[in-house]
């Protein structure tokens, strides 16, 4: 932050809770990663087997496979960083939404409690019920579209907390 902004900036709101995406979103990248490694190991074994009979083919398989693995490694780690860095932060006055993918996306949304008109949660599917995750939709004043947060762990708890903080803020505002 620039020194001028640092001087002007009011103190930050206290963070009540940080909510990341549910771990279930990691299942697909992990399966993709393990599957790619599995296939590539099989191809390595194949290239080793044909090394003496078809030297060029063996080298070709080895080179292509190593390129595929390099790309798979990078994709896997980018997904891990996305999972760790995408956050919903509930502060005492607003909800800050970080939706990021390294090299690809950086979206930040600050939704003040005063602007939240309505919230709804949707828990769909067997896994969603068992593992307790779902989607949250926020209707925000003057915002043309509905804000959507996917794969939020414990969406009921999230909405209850935001509702409680919103009510608390309203009471404090009325008492002034």
């Amino acid at each position: 932050m620039s020194p001028i902004l640092e001087k002007l900036a009011p103190p930050k709101n206290a963070i009540i809770k940080a909510v990341g995406n549910h771990w279930v979103t990691l299942v697909a990248p992990i399966i993709f990663f393990l599957f790619t490694w599995g296939i590539c190991i099989m191809l390595f074994v194949l290239s080793r087997d044909i090394y003496e009979t078809d030297y060029l083919m063996s080298l070709g398989i080895f080179v292509v496979t190593s390129w595929v693995l390099v790309i798979a490694n990078h994709i896997f780690f980018i997904f891990m960083f996305k999972w760790i860095q995408s956050l919903l932060l509930i502060t005492s006055k607003d909800v800050i939404d970080f939706d990021v993918i390294p090299l690809v996306r950086y979206d930040v949304g600050i939704i003040g409690f005063y602007g939240i008109q309505e919230m709804e949660e949707q828990i769909h599917g067997f896994l969603g019920k068992i593992l307790n995750y779902g989607d949250i939709y926020m209707h925000v004043v003057w915002h043309p579209t509905v804000r959507e947060f996917k794969y939020v762990p414990d969406p009921v708890g999230f909405i209850s907390l935001v509702e409680t903080l919103k009510k608390k803020m309203d009471i404090e505002k009325d008492s002034k």
Binding site: P11, K12, F44, S58, F62, V70, N73, H74, F77, I96
Partner: protein
């Protein structure tokens, strides 16, 4: 090892390192930007232990992977 395989291997390693540095720089930028929203006192929310661990793992995988490939290649019968 034929020369073309060796050259391809070197290019692959350099490219991989470049991508790793690029991603790492972007991850640092994201953390810095997130810090501005949450403040210095709440840094732990945007730089959790898991982030530091995966940054280290990423570095290790990118550095060790070419050597693993070389090891596999050299284990082939000559």
């Amino acid at each position: 090892m034929p020369l073309w395989v060796f050259l391809g291997f070197i290019i692959q390693t350099i490219l991989s390192l470049m991508i790793m540095i690029w991603v790492e720089v972007d991850v640092s930028h994201i953390v810095e930007s997130q810090k501005q929203y949450v403040g210095e006192e709440n840094i732990r929310f945007v730089t959790p232990f898991s982030l530091q661990l995966f940054r280290l793992l990423y570095l290790l995988v990118v550095i060790l992977f070419p050597w693993l490939m070389l090891l596999i290649f050299n284990s082939f019968p000559q």
